[in-house]
Structure formats: C-alpha cells, structure tokens
C-alpha cells in the first residue's frame, strides 16, 4: 500500500483507508465548512466572503466605470443619457424632470449605496439591524429624538402630487432599479464585511436625509450646559461668558461699518459655586448626553463654513463671483456627490447633491449660483414638564389642566428580528419628552415640525436670478442657513433663511428664566404662555441685496448687528475671526479674480492671531524682574513669526499651544468639579476665543486669578507669561528643540474617517494649511473641514471650479474613492465641466456612458 499526503488517502485498489484517515477528513471538512459558513466573532463567514464571484473580491470588478453600458430604468418615460466626465461626474440628460431624478437615484445607488443605507438607518434608529448591539444606544437615542418619526409625518402630510413627493418617488425608483438588478457580487464592500444585503429605498428616506441635516446643523443643548456654568460661576458671569450678542461685531447683514466693532464689556467676576444647582444641572446633562458626545458650547471645532460674493464692479472680469466652502464632519465617502442635471429648456443645474436627495443642494445653473453657511440660530427649546407619574407618566400639566401624553413605542431590533430594546417615547404638544435625571423635559425643535424644504431645493434648481433664488428659499424651513447667491445680471444677495421661533412670555421655572423672549433657558412647560407663538416674518430675516459695499460674506457669525435689530435669534455665536479676515481681503481688493477666491479659501492668516500675539509679546516685554528663560525664548520665537499657519511654519505650534495654555489657566473656574487640580483640560464649557480677547482688555479682572493659588493673585500679564513658558516647555517636550520638528504640518492634520471608522478605508493624518481662526479652520481631532469648495464666475458663460475631500465612488478599491484628496489638501480646485449637450463630452473628457432606457413592457404600454 502507498499512502500519499495529505491524510494517507491514496490506497491503491479497493482496500479501505484507515479509520484515522476518515476521522481526519471528517474533522478537516467540518472545520472548513464551519469557517466557511458560520460568522466568527463580528466577521463574515469566510466561504461567502472570499468567494471570488459573489464575495468581497467581486468589489474590484465594479470599482471602475465601464466605458459604455445600458440598463432599463423602472418608471422612466424616455431614455436617459448619462455621461460621466473625466472627474467621474455624471451629466444626466433626460427629457423630463422625473427621469432626471430617477437617473440620479440610480447613479447615487451605484456609487454610494452603503452610505445611503447607513445614513438612513442612523436617522431611523435601525443601525443595530445592520451592525449589531454595539449601536443599540445610538439607535435608542435616534428614536427618542424622533427624527424619523417627524420626517415620516412631514412626508405623509405633503401633497402626493407635489413636486417634492414626485421627485422622492422617482428618485426611489432609480435607487430600487439598481438594487433589484444587483447580484451579491455587486454589493458594496461593506455589505460583504457585515454579511448583509442592501435594503430597498423608500421615498420617505429622502425626508430622513433632511432631518439628519437638521440634526447636524441645528441641534444644540446649550441651555443645559449654560445651567451648569451658571451654577459654577453665577448668572452675571455666565451671561457675559456666553453672551447673546457677540462682543466683536462683524455681522452678515452689512451695517455700514468699514471695520469690526469691539463692544467689549467688563466680565463680572466668578461667584461662588452653587453645589445643589450644579448637581441638578449636571445630572440632567449627563442623563441627556450619557456618552459626552455632544459638543460643548464654545467649542470651535464644528464650525468653519464660509461664503462670499462680489458684485461685478469689484471683480476683475466685471462679472459677479461667488465662493462657498461648507465645513462639516468629514467622511469617506464624502457627504457630497457632484452631478449635472439637464432637461432641455427646463433644467440645467450643476453642483453637489446630498446622497439620498434628488436635487442639487449647492451649485449653479446657467443664470445663478448659490451656497450656504450654517446660521446657528436657536431653533430648539426645552420645557420642564409637570407629569402625573414620574415613573410612568400618562398626563402633563398645562395651564392648570392635565393633558394626555401621546405615547410612541419604539423597538430596536437585531438583524434576526429579535427585539433588543423597547422604549416608550412620550410626546407633549411641543414634541418628544425625555427624562433627564429627576426632570421630564420636552423639546420643541423646528426640525421636528412639518415642513416642505425639499420643494425649496427643487425651485432653487430652476431659479433664473438671485431674486428668484431667494424666493425659492422662502419655503425653506430647516435647518436655518445663510443662503448666498449671485447671478449673471450681476446681482448678489444673502439671507439667513429658516424658521426662527417667536417665543412667548409667561412664568418660568424658579430661578431659571431671565428673559422670556430668549431660548437659552429651560422654560416652564406648565404654562402655554411659554410656547412659541409663531415664526419671524421673512422680511425680518437678516438679509441684504446688492449692498453698496459691493460684496457679501457669511462665516457663521451673528447675522445682524444688535444695534440694528436687538431681537433674540440665538446666542454663543462663533467668533467672527473668519468674517474679519475675508471682509478685510474683500475690502482691500477691488478687482477680485476667481483664483484669488480660491486662494482665500485656504488663506493661512488669522485675525485672532493679531490680538493674542500682541498680548503675549507685550506681557513678555513688560515683566519686571526679567522673564524666565522659557518665556524669553518663546517670546523671541513668536516675535519673528509671520503669523501664518502654513504647513512648513515652525512657530505656529508654539502660538497654538500658548493659546491652549492661556485658556486652561484663565477658565480654571469652569473646570469640571471634582476633577483633579492638574486636570485643567476638562471644563464644563469653554467660552470662545473672542471672550478671551475681550478679557485681555481688562488686565486685573478676577478671571485672571487662578483659584488654586490662594496665596497669590494673578493678573493678565502673569497668566500670559505663564502660558508662554508652559507652551514653550510643552512643545520642546513633545517635539524637541525649535527646528523642523516644529513644522505646523506635524501638528495640524485632517482625519477623514470611513463611515464605519475602518482605518484601512480612512485617510488619516493629512497635513493641512489651517489654524485657529483661519478661513479654513482646523481644530480638535481634525475631523471637521471644508466638505466642498466651490468658486463660480457668473459671466456670459458660467465658469466654475470645485472639489471635495474624497471622490465620487464609495468603493475603497476604486481610483475614484479619494482621487480629489490631493487637490483638496493643496487648496487647489478642479475646473467643473458644464456642457450644454451630451455630445459636448467626448474623447478625453468622457470616461463612461450609461444609457437608461424605459422598461420594455412599460414602453409598449
């Protein structure tokens, strides 16, 4: 007998193999079948995953665009010609609007299907069905917020024959046509990793998307943090640290000033801590945000959007120019997808779409361009409710009468369908109610109100002038945005657009309210007099049309000068450093070019630096006796700094660290109670840098004193010197002696995470030309940044340039996954192709052609 490997099976003739061989084969096969068929930990079963035809390897086969293909498109009335240019942008030529929306749904699904599903599930609170129990709490919070619930209600209330509903349905047709034509080998990579399959797309999901944007752009719980600050340092100080009106006035609506106005006041000293009040406020806040995921008030990480426009008389070409760069949380794939939608004689619009939406969100057509920044208005209010039963409420008190609570049962399920958690969400007439500590609090939020924002985008896509564009956005309700527009006739205009609540007066919870018209306090829910009584009339919105100064800009700052209109619109506005910088650039240049606008989008200068650098150097100079060596070295280094946050700069890191040290020392009174003294980083909230600048004007203010040093009273210059010394020592400790190791690019980096935060599919540690207060600010974890940059020249032929961090494809294996990243990092823009006819794209400019034809049986009918 001869036995071959493996297992000695090779028995010549019919002699039986040894039992050991049979056992070995049985065990080996069982093991192989087990790893092939059964998921191991969170991973997929290996058999299906590694299958070259149906598994993960097939992802490579659809990573690139085919030169030419044709598919049927359910619901289409006529053939649709989709031409992908050399930047993989689809130019969709259709005979009617519904077919354009269908085709857009199809190409969105083809390039970004997993993104569509994950963002939909995030709103609906069904992530656990895809990702397992790790997202259970996220799902529960999403359901408690009621975004999907309100979006469904809003969508149901729309006229079924309205353009918005028709568009959402047509778009869903396109998405589902693609999904239904897929085999498992066509699934995006993430589905292979999760062992899942795509879900169908429902028209209402487009409304979910808008709700999600509302969450991103218009959700603040600052009232609760403010309550904590008040408990820590008293009401007068809290009001000055987080003021209704910005102390540096550079509003969006021009006020005739030729320079920013500094309305500095003396910040009241911190009062004694109110322990009982703080405990309550902290309990409520912790209950509301158990993961500490919500940004603190004063954090300057999430905002940075800019837009500006110049009228023809201030541009080199004599045409209106517009630039925009909305800053958002960066992700791969990007939130944006470029597209060009054409229906002859009706629609010809180019720009970026949100995945899940059938319209161009930011862009331009043959006549007009538009872009947004976030307004940051206060559109959320909280009400402390009186309920009949703390544990299981059924009624709440309003004007002395008990009202019945609506109850909504929300069950989060696993993929198997098993219930993971069931919650009862109560609603008052204001909105969903949650228990925060011992208090039941309901929330009214414009995002949860019925609205028809989708229709506004559809009308904007068709606008023929800046005036028409603004008219289209009169129907835009959430989330409040500063809409900037310019047209080919040379008009420029801006309006802070959205629903701004008018708040009623009435009683307030004991010790809570000071100003009934404001929304920065938790209001008493037992009185209907505290309810909203309506929304601002559009005529009162912050706005401007063809201002005499010849330019307009917005950078998330307070929209109106409070001397012009003192009404409450919000509070804790971001510092206007970016507004000051861009307005200075615009005032100084009466012949602006598109290229200058491109450069300004990544301009490395910060107006903030001018103020703080001067203060640091003055403090170092004014010391008597002479300063210690670290201060002297730091001052020497900063004195020779050009104030620019370029990648190769070797001084910016010292300045940035000194500013951080300054905030640590100055705001020590705002430290989290109970935290060890050396932990000066964690604060209940941090006043933004313009408040710190305001304090610089008051050298002996009690806020400069460090509470823990009871034997000495520090003043401004002492703290500035201490900060300089500490910064120098810290930077040397981290980076070594001054030199190339101090290059700014080693410190300031962008981190663009994959949607599932998979490092292999993320792009991390990207060096950036950005600093605190620059037009392209970068702070914190580097996860926020310019999500889209665009410059448009409104001449006889509209010309435009743009880019975003990522690429059109959501497939990590595709060359189009991150192909735009190099230019985005360098601050460059691509020329955007804007052909009038499909045939204008040919040869080198054409990558792929997709023909979508009506379903044959439909065509016969």
């Amino acid at each position: 007998m001869r036995t071959d490997r493996p297992g000695g099976d090779e028995n010549r003739g019919s002699r039986s193999p040894p039992v050991a061989t049979t056992l070995l084969a049985t065990g080996g096969l069982a093991l192989a079948l087990y790893v092939s068929a059964v998921p191991i930990r969170a991973g997929p079963p290996l058999g299906r995953f590694l299958d070259p035809v149906h598994g993960v390897w097939s992802v490579a086969t659809h990573a690139e665009l085919p030169a030419r293909e044709s598919h049927q498109l359910a619901g289409a009335a006529r053939s649709v010609d989709v031409r992908f240019d050399d930047r993989a942008v689809p130019h969709i030529f259709a005979a009617n609007e519904p077919d354009v929306w269908r085709a857009l749904g199809y190409v969105h699904a083809r390039d970004r299907l997993f993104q569509m599903e994950i963002q939909t599930r995030a709103v609906a609170g069904t992530l656990s069905e895809l990702l397992g129990t790790r997202t259970l709490e996220v799902d529960r919070e999403a359901r408690a917020q009621g975004l999907a619930w309100s979006a469904e209600r809003a969508f149901r209330e729309l006229d079924p024959n309205s353009d918005a509903v028709r568009a959402a349905r047509a778009y869903a047709d396109g998405v589902n046509t693609f999904i239904e034509g897929m085999t498992s080998g066509d699934y995006p990579l993430e589905y292979h990793l999760l062992g899942a399959r795509p879900q169908r797309w429902e028209p209402r999901y487009s409304a979910y998307l808008l709700a999600r944007m509302g969450l991103t752009l218009a959700y603040t719980d600052g009232e609760l943090q403010r309550a904590q600050v008040e408990a820590l340092v008293g009401k007068p100080a809290a009001a000055a640290l987080f003021p209704e009106n910005a102390p540096i006035v550079e509003p969006i609506q021009p006020n005739g000033q030729r320079a920013p106005r500094f309305d500095f006041i003396r910040i009241p000293p911190p009062q004694r801590l109110d322990s009982a009040k703080l405990a309550t406020a902290t309990e409520i806040r912790h209950a509301m945000d158990p993961f500490g995921a919500h940004a603190n008030i004063g954090d300057e990480i999430a905002v940075g959007s800019n837009n500006w426009a110049v009228s023809p008389r201030r541009s080199a070409s004599g045409h209106a120019l517009l630039a925009g760069d909305p800053h958002l949380n960066l992700s791969l794939p990007s939130i944006w997808y470029e597209a060009h939608l054409v229906v002859p004689d009706t629609l010809d619009v180019y720009g970026v779409t949100l995945i899940g939406s059938p319209f161009i969100t930011i862009g331009f057509n043959r006549d007009v361009a538009w872009t947004f920044t976030n307004t940051g208005a206060d559109v959320t209010d909280y009400y402390a409710e009186t309920v009949d039963n703390d544990a299981h409420p059924t009624r709440y008190k309003l004007d002395g009468e008990w009202k019945t609570l609506e109850a909504r049962i929300e069950t989060v399920r696993a993929r198997s369908g098993a219930a993971l958690a069931t919650d009862t969400i109560y609603h008052t007439h204001r909105g969903p109610m949650q228990r925060w500590g011992k208090t039941w609090v309901s929330r009214r939020w414009t995002v949860l109100e019925p609205h028809n924002t989708m229709d506004a985008f559809r009308r904007a896509n068709l606008a023929r002038s800046a005036a028409e564009l603004l008219q289209a956005f009169e129907g835009y309700e959430v989330a409040a945005q500063n809409v900037l527009t310019a047209d080919r006739a040379g008009h420029i205009a801006i309006r802070s657009n959205g629903h701004f609540p008018i708040r009623g007066g009435g009683s307030a919870p004991k010790g809570a309210a000071r100003d009934f018209g404001r929304g920065d306090v938790v209001r008493d829910g037992s009185s209907s007099a505290n309810d909203w009584t309506g929304y601002w009339p559009i005529a009162d919105y912050p706005q401007s049309f063809d201002p005499p100064q010849g330019f307009l800009s917005s950078n998330n700052q307070q929209p109106k000068d409070p001397r012009v209109d003192p009404r409450y619109l919000g509070w804790d506005w971001p510092a206007p450093w970016r507004a000051m910088r861009i307005n200075a650039l615009l005032r100084a240049d009466s012949a602006v070019t598109p290229d200058a606008m491109r450069r300004w989008q990544t301009d490395p200068v910060s107006e903030q630096t001018t103020i703080f650098l001067r203060a640091f150097l003055h403090a170092a100079d004014s010391s008597s006796p002479p300063v210690d060596s670290s201060v002297a070295r730091a001052a020497h280094l900063l004195a020779e700094w050009d104030g620019r946050f370029t990648k190769d700069n070797e001084r910016a890191v010292l300045y940035s660290t000194a500013l951080d040290e300054l905030a640590r020392r100055t705001w020590d009174e705002l430290g989290v109670p109970g935290a060890p003294p050396e932990d000066r980083v964690r604060r209940v909230a941090t006043p933004n840098s313009m408040i710190l600048a305001e304090l610089l004007d008051d050298p002996t203010n009690a806020w400069w004193d460090i509470r823990s040093t009871t034997d000495v009273v520090e003043d401004r210059d002492t703290i500035l010197r201490q900060s300089l010394a500490a910064a120098y020592d810290r930077v040397v400790k981290i980076h070594g002696e001054p030199g190339p190791a101090w290059r700014w690019e080693k410190t300031r980096r962008a981190n663009i995470n994959h949607l599932l935060r998979i490092p292999a599919f993320s792009r991390l540690g990207i060096p950036m030309q950005a600093g605190p207060g620059t037009l392209s600010p970068s702070a914190g974890g580097g996860t926020h940044g310019a999500s889209w940059r665009m410059v448009v020249e409104l001449g006889p032929e509209v010309r435009a340039w743009g880019t975003y961090p990522g690429g059109q494809s959501g497939n990590p294996a595709s060359s189009r996954y991150t192909d735009r990243l190099p230019k985005w990092t360098a601050g460059d823009l691509d020329t955007l192709r804007f052909p009038r006819r499909a045939s204008d794209l040919a040869g080198r400019t054409l990558t792929s052609s997709l023909t979508l034809t009506p379903v044959t049986s439909e065509r016969k009918q």
């Binding site: 090779e10 002699r15 084969a25 096969l29 192989a32 092939s36 058999g47 070259p52 992802v59 990579l189």
Partner: protein, 113 residues
C-alpha cells in the same frame, strides 16, 4: 485522460460551480470527484489543487475586470495581515474544502464497497 487534463477539468467544474452556486460548490464537486475517482491515485490531492486553481482563475478574471491589488491591500490593512496573506487564505480555503471533502467521500465509498 492525463492527470493534468483531469485536474484542469476538475478545476473548471469547480470554477463554474462557484460562479453558479457559490463556494459550497467546491466541496460538493470535490466529494463527487472523491466518489467517482475513488480507485485512482491522488484523488484528494487533485481535488485540493483543483479548488485552488479554480479560485485562482476566478481571481485572475476579477483582476482583469478591476483593481484587485488595491482591494487586496485594503483587506490586508483591514485584517492587519500582509496582502499576500489575503490571497493565500483565499486560495487555501477552497483547497481545504476540496481536499477534505474528496478524502472523506473516498474514505466512505471505499469502506462500503
């Protein structure tokens, strides 16, 4: 029929089977092969090689249609292994399935006969 030709035909059957029915076709075809060729030498080894050959051919087809190497690099990075290991596991799996299935089928068949 030469050994090489048998191997190629078996691999082709497994490739077609994978395309039609997925990975499960590999052990099924290998088991069938173990029964049919139970009297021949190298039955299990041939099945294992054919499984690997079949998936290697299918991977080559994938590579011809798209960027396989960047995908392999991403997967290697994802699982913290070298790129070559991703390929190796992909080819080892059908090999293991096929060799054990063929071996078991042959063992059972010869014990009964």
């Amino acid at each position: 029929m030469t050994v090489a030709l048998r191997l190629v035909l078996l691999a082709a059957a497994m490739a077609v089977g994978t395309a039609a029915f997925g990975w499960v076709a590999v052990p099924v075809i290998a088991a069938a092969w173990g029964l049919i060729a139970r009297l021949q030498r190298g039955t299990a080894l041939a099945a294992g090689l054919a499984g690997m050959l079949a998936w290697a051919a299918l991977l080559a087809l994938d590579a011809a249609r798209g960027p396989l190497e960047p995908l392999a690099q991403s997967l290697g990075s994802l699982f913290s292994v070298k790129t070559i290991a991703v390929y190796a596991v992909t080819l080892a799996l059908p090999g293991l399935l096929a060799v054990t299935a063929a071996l078991l089928a042959r063992s059972v068949a010869t014990q009964r006969s």
